[in-house]
Structures are given as C-alpha cells and as structure tokens.
C-alpha cells in the first residue's frame, strides 16, 4: 500500500467528516424559494387540519338532523349554513374532506407502492419478463374503469376500503409505466453498469441504485395523482357507487349542492370551494416539486 507522506493519518471520526449536501437537500432549498408552492403547502396544511381536527372543535355532529333549521344560509350559529335536512354544513364539509383526502392519499400510496416496484422490476429485468409484465398492464389499462369498479362493488359490497383498493388498482398502472421508462433510461447510465460489475444482486441494484433515482419524477406524479384520485372518487360518489349516506365526501356534497344550486347556493359553494382549493394547492405543490427536482436547475 502507498505510504502517503501524511504521516499520522488522523482517525476518521464520524463527526470530523464534512457533511455533504444531497440532491434532496438542494431540491428542498429550491422549493422553499418558490413562494407559490410554499403558500400552497401552507394552504393544504390548513385544509388538512380543518378537515381532520375541525370536527372535534365543532359543537355540531355531521349526521344530526335538525329539520327546523333546514336549508338556512350562513349565520352566526352555522357558519356555512345548513343543508336541507338541517345538518350543519361546515362540519359536513370537514368530515367530507376527511373522506376525500383519505381516499386521495391512501389510494395514491397504494398505487405508488405497487407501481414503483412493478415498474422498476419490469424495466430492469427487461426482455420477455418486461414484455409480459407490460402487456398485463396494457390489458388492465384497456378495461373500462367504471365497469371494473361497478363489478367490484357489486361483488364485494359497497365499502370505503373497497373503493380505495379499486382506485389504487387503476392508478398504479400509470405509475408503473412512468417508473419503468425512468428505469430504462437509468439502466444505460454507467453507475448501473458499475453496480453490475461489482457483483451486486439484482435486488440491491433495483432498490439502492435505481429506485432512489427515479423517485424525483415519481414524487411529482404522486402529488398530481392525489387530486386525480379525489376527482375519481367524486365521480363514483356522484354515481352512487362511492360513499353511502349518511356519510358524505366532498363529491357527495357537491352532488347534493348542485341539485338546488339556484335556491341554496351555499350548499354548492362551500364544498366545491374547498375541493377546488385543495386541487389547486396540490397542483401548485406538484409543479413546485417538479421545478425543484428538475435536474436542469441542478448545479451542473
């Protein structure tokens, strides 16, 4: 071994090492500078708290009907007004938000988990395995979503969790395709070749080398998937396939609201307003993330 002229090589203590600045750190710094994205993060956080913590602070119960106070506009007692059955709209919007957001987040996480692993494996292994895996995806893609969900609901009964699964089952397909194409282009990078030539197992290469490098675009897509899922849920609820009364999601509330929108406009405005605000925030956050993670704005 070389005897370096550095005679007493200092012990490499953990704290003596210079901390590096990972690409995530750089991205976070860039994101913080994007005012719209930061504002949207705060906005989304507010909406989230509103929906999940709000009901504990409200004196009303979302399902208690008060037929004497039916369909009253916003007032001091009911800040958002009441619906035709006298239920307080604000707490219904909060609880509706819980369901919509839950569906959005859970289904997206499910789609992410399945899609990333499926897509990364297909992309890396390649050949016939990749071809058959992707044909399977193509097949599922071709199935009409609505019919598929209806079949599921009919077979297994209508439940919230089943809806999560149904939506997750559809969304993972796009994720898988995106991850696969990311992996395909990464595969050609020399650090992957280096990993192979060092004798690393396939699993290690996929998990440690490929997936962390496709996470960037995946996170962006995930952030934009949440609003897409929420819209899907609203659509299902609109059809009567989703959440069942007395529970309500924003989609259900919007449906109820639009039937009487000329007479009782607040019944539509509040849930629609919150829904739209959430979608806006998520979209701006997604855009901000994409710009922050964009390699072109990275140091080199």
């Amino acid at each position: 071994m070389t005897d370096a002229p550095v005679d007493a090589a200092p012990a490499i203590a953990e704290d003596a090492l210079v901390e590096g600045s990972s690409l995530w750190k750089d991205a976070w710094a860039r994101l913080k500078k994007n005012k719209v994205a930061v504002g949207s993060l705060f906005g989304f956080a507010f909406i989230f708290l509103f929906c999940f913590v709000g009901p504990f602070l409200s004196p009303y119960d979302a399902n208690v009907q008060d037929l004497f106070s039916g369909a009253e506009g916003p007032s001091a007692e009911h800040w958002f007004g009441t619906d035709t059955l006298g239920r307080d709209l604000m707490v219904r919007v909060m609880e509706g938000g819980r369901i919509s957001l839950l569906v959005g987040l859970v289904a997206t996480v499910v789609a992410l988990a399945i899609g990333v692993i499926y897509g990364a494996t297909a992309g890396y292994v390649g050949g016939k395995v990749d071809a058959s895996m992707m044909r399977f995806v193509d097949l599922l893609y071709a199935l009409p979503f609505t019919i598929f969900v209806i079949l599921l609901m009919v077979a297994f009964g209508r439940s919230l969790w089943l809806m999560f699964v149904a939506i997750g089952c559809v969304e993972w397909l796009s994720m898988a395709r995106i991850v696969r194409s990311g992996v395909l282009s990464l595969k050609k990078q020399e650090f992957v070749e280096a990993a192979v030539s060092l004798g690393y197992s396939r699993r290690r290469i996929i998990v440690r080398h490929l997936i962390p490098n496709v996470l960037g675009p995946v996170i962006v897509i995930a952030t934009l998937t949440v609003p897409a899922v929420m819209l899907l849920e609203a659509f299902l609820s609109f059809l009567g396939l989703g959440v069942q009364p007395p529970d309500a999601s924003w989609g259900v509330l919007i449906n109820e609201g639009q039937t009487n929108m000329e007479i009782y406009p607040w019944l539509l405005l509040f849930p629609a307003g919150f829904f739209a605000a959430t979608l806006f925030c998520l979209n701006f956050i997604g855009d901000g993330l994409r710009d922050a993670l964009d390699p072109k704005s990275a140091k080199d």
């Binding site: 070389t2 370096a4 002229p5 550095v6 210079v18």
Partner: protein
Amino acid sequence: MPLLEVDDLTTYFHTRDGVVRAVDGVSFSLENGETLGIVGESGSGKSVTCYSLMRLIPEPPGRIERGTAMFDGQDLLRMSPRELRRVRGCKISMIFQDPMTSINPYLRISTQLIEALQTHRDIDKKAALHKAIEALEEVGIPGASSRVFSYPHEFSGGMRQRVMIAMALITEPDLLIADEPTTALDVTVQALIMDIIKQRQNDLGTAVILVTHDLGLVAGSCDKVLVMYGGREMESGSVEQIFHNPRHPYTRALQKTIPSLQEKGQELFTIPGLPPDVSKPIHGCAFHPRCPYPKIGQPEGDRPPLEEVEPGHCWSACGYCDSSAPIEAVLAKADVDAAEIVEGDA
C-alpha cells in the same frame, strides 16, 4: 483596419450562488482571412467569449457588463436585435460542437440551407437549391444533388458536421466562429473536417475563430493564439511565438502536460490542483494558486498588467512568481510524485 476588434469584453452571470465572472476583460483583434485560436479548458471562458460576440448569452442571468466588439465599423455588443439579425448567419456564422443537436432534426437539409440563404439574400428557391447543392459538394458530400433532400439523422456524425459547415458558409460570411467543431469526432474524421474548414477558408477569404482545448489543432490551423484561463487572457501572440517561446507559466505548463507522439520518451508532467472557481473574485493572476513556479508574496489588486514579450506577443505578467527557470525544472515529475491530496470544494 482589423475585421474584428474586441476590447475589454466582460460577461458575468448573476446566479443564485453569486456572480460568475465567465469572461473578465478580454481583448483581441482579427484581420481578414486570419485564423485565431482561443485555447483553454472548461471554465476558461473561451466559449462564452464567442457566444457573447454573437449575443447568444441568455440575459438574465448573463449580462455583458462592458467592452466593445467592433466589426465592420459597428459595435456587436450594442447592436439592436434587428441589426444583429442581419449580421448573424450572414456576415458572422457559427458552428458548434455537437452536430447531433445543432441541426434541426425535423427539417430536410435542403430546407435548412435554402432558409439560410433566403433569409439573407434576395434569391429565388430554384437558385437557392442550386447553391445548396453546390455548398454540399464543396464540403465533400458525395451525391450532393440527391443527398440534399435527406434528413440530418441520415448522415453520420462527420457528415453532419460537414453539413453544418456548409450551412455556415453558404452565405459567404466574413467571419466563421467554430466552437470545438471536432471534439466529438474520431481523429481521422477530425483531420478531414479541419481540412475542409481550411480549404473553404482559402476559397472564400473568411476569417476564423477556432475555440478548442487541443493544442495540436491550434498548431496546425491557426495564425494567432489567445490562451485563456479563469475567464482572463493569459497570453496571446502568433502561433510560432506561443509554441516556441511561451512566456506565461500556464502556457508553458499546458504544453508539457499533454502527451504527444513526437515527444518520444519524454516525461508527462502534471499541473496540480483544479481550475479556478470563477464565482469568487480573483486577485492577481488567475493561475497563481496552481502556478508551479516559486511564489513571491501574495497577489493583490485586480489583475496583472499585460506586458509585451516581443512585437505581437503579450502575456499577463504576474509579478508574484519567479518564472525565470524553464518549466521542466519546476513541474512535478511523472514517476516521482507523491500522492497529492486534492481538496474538495468549499
């Protein structure tokens, strides 16, 4: 009257992380038909100099802070966009390093060549097509009359570069700027491309600015040389002066660190350290931190003065090193070096 006279050209980039002084006060001149080689490594500012002349710097974050570039009686750096359009592609043309990305892949070669001509000349399509075919023949593309209708991807790398040369020269410009035109090509193709450039230059009397890191190319093709480092001029002169009597330590060291076929059995020297960070202000000579000559004190002030070695030959005369000895005496020898530790960035 020189064709192009550049004085104190300075281009900075105002980025999040600070001001990057990409080009910091560079001056040179070029006569009709002359070839100037701008030599430097990455970060030297050689490419940004040319992009500044063509006003292709994105502004923001870039900005041409000061300087003049007198071309044909007008200052390129202060022209209006309208006037610039009349100069670009017509009087001054540029060819780039990567032939894959510098030609529009969606248009046929004929379309692009004709467009180049018709933009700057009053000429009808048929005559333009004829000229286009001629242009391709002049750069040695076989079967030009049919190949003119091909798409760029149907040509190989070397051929595409020839097409780019044809496109650049079809309007018979006074000045051709070539930014590392052969770096991406095989060495045999490189030789052919340089021959073509030289030959067309002779035919048309065009002046050429050749930007490169390859000293061999410079030796073979250039009349004058400008050596850049850290955005500044280190040395300039005729090609014989620079190669046979280099004065600046960087020029001397550069010549010694390149393995060359003719230097049989000679050692390969290294220049320790890394190219400078031009986002930080540089005091004195940009090369001082890496200069292998014995140092005398710490440099102060903005930059060393330009001193004349012999007529036409100037160098940035750093007063803080003793460069009297030949460079071989001070450069680390190949087989004897210790494992030098290269520091990471701050």
